[in-house]
């Protein structure tokens, strides 16, 4: 699946997007954050406060317990500051 990062999440991880293949036991957004956190220091830094991180699956906001099954694109970002 494709993962996208925005704002300081993107800056901390050092890339805007990547394709990942998490193992089958990574079922929710929360699981995915945990799995990504273990992928290296940059990820651990980006996700150091997981409660602050917002997520979207296929362009719609989702909560941390949302299932990622069937997702084509998952995005992680800080709270939005548009408008």
């Amino acid at each position: 699946m494709k993962v996208k990062y925005f704002a300081w999440v993107r800056e901390r991880i050092g890339k805007a997007e990547e394709t990942i293949e998490p193992p089958a036991d990574v079922r929710t957004v929360d699981d995915l954050i945990g799995w990504l956190t273990a992928q290296g220091e940059a990820y651990a830094y980006a996700f150091e406060k997981p409660k602050v991180i917002r997520a979207a699956i296929d362009h719609a906001h989702v909560k941390a317990d949302a299932t990622i099954a069937g997702a084509r694109e998952i995005a992680f970002f800080p709270p939005m500051t548009g408008g």
Partner: protein, 155 residues
């Protein structure tokens, strides 16, 4: 008559007068037009800034704004609705966002414009970074914006 919203996410500036005219000129069923322009200020929390840079998530921004615009059209009797959000580097005094609503009556036009602005502030995937003498910093989300957005939730 089905009303559809005009939504644009663009780097270029917009012309408030042209957007207001587009919703009201040459028709006689509109009694009230409300416009909201959000403008880049020259200071954030007392510190002068040189510019803002707005990053966004293009596909999602389009989908999110469309969803909230459709929601506004379903909740209020609007005759026209335009939402424009800029991205990229924006200097103090320049436009950031525009919402224009047209209705037969003023209350619908005011409420729909406020509703959309509250949602753009909290739900539209845009992030502001400020440039100042101290370097660049991501602007933090404001709790009071979440409170403002929550007042529109159907109970």
């Amino acid at each position: 008559m089905t009303v559809s919203a005009t939504i644009r996410i663009q780097e270029a500036d917009f012309d408030v007068a042209r957007e207001i005219a587009a919703l009201s000129q040459g028709r006689t069923d509109v009694g009230a037009v409300v416009s909201f322009s959000g403008i880049c200020r020259g200071a954030e929390q007392g510190e002068p800034i040189a510019a803002l840079t707005l990053e966004h998530y293009p596909d999602m921004a389009e989908a999110e704004i469309q969803r909230h615009a459709d929601d506004a059209l379903a909740r209020w009797p609007l005759q026209g609705l335009t939402v424009i959000h800029r991205f990229g580097r924006i200097e103090p005094g320049q436009n950031i966002v525009l919402v224009v609503t047209a209705s037969a009556h003023r209350q619908a036009a005011f409420e729909a414009a406020e509703f959309l602005m509250d949602y753009l502030k909290t739900n539209a995937p845009f992030w502001k970074r400020e440039e100042s003498a101290r370097g660049t910093n991501w602007i933090e989300a404001q709790d009071h914006d979440d409170v403002a957005a929550a007042r529109w939730t159907k109970s």
